[in-house]
Amino acid sequence: MKPAPFEYLAPETLDSALEALARHGGEAKLLAGGQSLIPVMNFRLAQPAVLIDLNRVQGLDYVREDGGGLRIGAMTRQRTLERDPLVAALAPLLAEAVPCIAHPQIRNRGTLGGSLAHADARAELPAVAVALRARLCLRRSGGERWVEARDFFSGLMSTLLEPEEILVEVALPPPMPRSGWAFVEEARRHGDYAQVGVAAGVSLDEAGRCREARLLYLSVGDRPVEAREAARLLEGSVPSAEAIAAAAEKASRDEMDPTGDIHASPAFKRHLARVLTGRALRRAFARAQGEAA
């Protein structure tokens, strides 16, 4: 099918994009990479009266180091993240996750900000953003606010974004010393939505004990799901196979409530979450220990 008619605006500055959004509010949709929005427009599941294309806006596409962390413009393509040496050095979890997103044809268009604002709980970037403790800058005409990624996702395909706001920047804190990471997911075919995915981050203290662990899951809830209790089972002691197994059991049994689909029952998703958590934690701790040695 073909999209329904719409008014097309292609502002070249952020200010004019914000003005257009303030003027049209709920009638308008923002077009970032379009890899989720254009399919639903083609199906006429979305029929926005006004489309505000952000692709010509100057100054939203950048990756910059800032105080040991990163600042990434919302319109940065996923393919850029995949190839950027700063991302590999300062946000290796993000670098590991991005190649799992769909296919190169999609990542050449798809953007970081577009994926976060779309807030599909099956997508990689929302879970990774929460795992990295990202902060998001939401701009409106005449003002801006910063929100934590973990607060940003408010429900099924829902975020804290108000109709007149644009997500313009993602700030990632510097990696902790002696930290390790892993992103693993299971999809029926490479590039399909994962049945379950996990983003793990760990850091060790000088004695080799786990100082902090983070476990974020995709495709097991209506938003990125964090397993805090499972992470606490790891914190404070030297990582061991028993502790990893206990954390994987805890996360998959008590900290998620996956719904099934035609390919995966809730029980199978829990099983995948348990197995993938073990793999992710083993890899993350090995990396943290390698860096410490």
Partner: protein, 164 residues
Amino acid sequence: MMAQGGIPIQVTVNGKSHARTVEPRLLLSDFLRHDLGLTGTHVGCEHGVCGACTILVDGEPVRSCLMFAVQADGRELSTVEGLAPGPEQLHPLQQAFWECHGLQCGFCTPGFLMTLVPFLEQNPHPTEDEIRHALSGNLCRCTGYQHIVDAVLLAAARMRGEAR
């Protein structure tokens, strides 16, 4: 700022410049086929799953059904029509598809070619695993993919000068 109605655009397709006026909702895939008559780019699913409409925009593969024609204003596009060096000669990947039976009905072939040509440019020594990974975004309902993998391996070897 632009409004509803016709919007003038200029694109370069396979080295040739085209100026047209388009409706904003016109998909890039339909622009190529209907406005420029370049029907080599095929339209399969129109929601970004099948890969049949893959073309290059500024040298990188994208789904032309997931871009509006207006977004291509000022860009360089490459389609399957531009692959062969001349009327009597095929691109090495096209030649290998032919010889290895990498196509049967041929509907998906333009998308495979436009996905795999930049892949081979960036990765001249691909393993079979890497090839299967690279073509995971393109659907073929005829071949079962094995002959396509064979074709890519042969084309890669020829493009490296290691096979005839």
